[in-house]
Amino acid sequence: MYRFLTSNICAPSIWSRRINFPVVVPSSSFHEIRKNGYEDKNRKKVSPRQAIRDGLKELKKEIKNWTEEVKEGCTLDPIMGMPLPGEVDMQWCFNESIDFDHWVVTSDSDHNEGYSTSTLSVSPTGKGLFSGNLSTQLVRDGKVKKAGYCNFKSIRPQKSFKRDSFHNWSGYTHLVMRVRGDGRSYMITLGTAGYFDVNWNDQFHFALYTRGGPHWQISKIPFSKFYMTSRGRIQDMQEPMPLNRITSFGITASDKNNGPFRLEIDYVGLELDPSHKETSAYEQYKVPYFYAGY
């Protein structure tokens, strides 16, 4: 009865609003609908028996991960994990032993929405290399109005039993990156998906300006300078970044200049600078009482 109502009565109103995901989630679904991104059309349908068999194969590994987590929780002294002022704690080090399974590289050509291409590989100097070709040429399908982006981002950290977790960067004030670019501007994106679906697409952005040339540069960007967006739209009400709930780190090349791009990355790290007291660089004025929305 419920399925009949949702599929036949609610569905037409969903189509008229051009929403591609089911607004009324079927009660039999276990996985939550992501509400963003593209649908995987090549996804194979697995029978429940096969799904149970696949899950049992991973059970031993997940139990081992869980016991390690419990041991770490009991033996770890949290004081040792606290950031010390002036030190750069490396989060990701790009070298010849990069695990490419931890990074997702996308561009607009993946879903036939453009002609840009990008790869994440190891550079001749043994560092990480994000390179490709940016093209703002539109695909002639009548739907695409803008094109030209390439992105790579980290996958969301997970605890045992596939539970989503966060990067806890609390206590740090700056993001430090040692890069060697080609003079182009890139966009650093920090995902901060919240608990409720309204906040699943919240991200914080800031530009990474590169010099080009043979010398490496160390970019030290305070977290207070990052501005909040949701689904790509800059929000009116800005807020400090929730550093204890970072879900992903990514870099995007989309500066509307056609041609090849090349960004070498040595490491991405975090630093605590005690003299930096700013929490958010935006929207610092105070509005009088009873202003709408504030």
């Binding site: 004081i79 002022p85 409720f196 929730p242």
Partner: protein
């Protein structure tokens, strides 16, 4: 919204809900007071309009509503003469309202999203109503109540050992204190009132100082630029919160422990003493971290704050107030 008419209305509503429950003739009116309390507290959580505070307020609302539903169902059970079921549901509902273990997960995720003054209200004023209702029904519960007390003591003390966020540390210490409060309430109301007021008096100056200097993590203590002699007062007050003699925080624990041992509840007293040792350890760790990391001056501090008179008075009361036992 700070100090706006709306805020004053909410604070008056919270106080009204406390008086409503203290003077209520029936369980239904008490439930009304609990609902008013939840309703009035939500705008306080949303003073700072960030996504984190919105998330915390929705989580708070959902858990409190669930607890209220359980209380209403328990009222219906009492009406239908099913007293055992009603008592169990009432106990679970009130424990959720209090944030007592094993129903404490919501208070941790909500506490991280709050600013310090609102967190202080959540950890103190919001506990008055459920505690008073628990005292009214304390003679009807048996082993389940004991399990909740023991779990609160153990969870509050052990889980606080792996925290570095000061908000979570205060919340876990509140859960541990909740265990002590529940024991005191099951003996005598005045013992619970005394414990509660001493807990408020000792906690308030600590939270006021954390608010002034915006301390969120224990490695930020060296950023507090006020005179070292007064910083020592702050850390002695934190140790008083941990129940270390000869400070004021030791007095209520001493009284409750004396009653528990005289009643012959040796297992309880053992758990209480062990739990208080663990809580004292993480308070000591806060103190040591501050003094070890604050030894070197990393930058020149040209601005030197001085604590207000109220802060100093409350700090000195929490450190020197133990002779109050003469009046108990």
């Amino acid at each position: 919204m700070w100090f706006s008419p709306s805020l004053i209305l909410m604070l008056i509503s919270i106080m009204s809900s406390v008086f409503l429950i203290l003077s209520s003739p029936s369980l239904f009116i008490s439930w009304l007071g609990l609902e008013l309390n939840t309703l009035a507290f939500l705008p306080l959580m949303l003073v700072k309009k960030t996504s984190m505070s919105s998330e915390g307020s929705v989580k708070y609302f959902l858990t409190q509503t669930l607890a209220s539903i359980l209380i209403i169902i328990s009222i219906v059970m009492f009406f239908l003469d099913l007293n055992n079921v009603g008592n169990s549901l009432l106990l679970v509902g009130l424990s959720i309202k209090l944030g007592a273990a094993p129903f404490h997960s919501w208070i941790l995720s909500v506490a991280e999203t709050l600013n310090w003054p609102v967190l202080f209200i959540l950890l103190t004023v919001q506990k008055i109503n459920p505690l008073f209702m628990l005292w009214n029904f304390s003679s009807y519960w048996g082993n389940v109540f004991d399990v909740i007390i023991i779990m609160s003591l153990v969870v509050g003390s052990l889980m606080g050992l792996i925290q570095t966020s000061t908000r979570l540390l205060m919340t876990f210490s509140s859960i541990s204190h909740m265990g002590w409060l529940l024991i005191s309430v099951s003996f005598d109301l005045w013992m619970g009132v005394l414990y509660f007021f001493i807990y408020m008096v000792v906690l308030l100056p600590v939270i006021m100082i954390f608010n002034i200097f915006n301390i969120s993590y224990i490695n930020e203590f060296f950023l507090m630029n006020f005179s070292l002699s007064k910083q020592i007062l702050l850390f002695l007050s934190i140790l008083s919160l941990g129940g270390l003699p000869p400070f004021l925080g030791f007095l209520p624990k001493w009284l409750i422990l004396q009653v528990v041992v005289s009643m012959g509840w040796y297992f309880f007293s053992l758990i209480m003493i062990l739990a208080s040792l663990f809580t004292l350890f993480f308070y000591l760790r806060m103190t040591f971290t501050a003094f070890i990391l604050g030894g070197s001056s990393l930058f020149e501090t040209k601005i030197f704050y001085s604590l207000g008179n109220l802060n100093l008075f409350m700090l000195s009361l929490s450190i020197l107030g133990l002779p109050l036992f003469l009046f108990v």
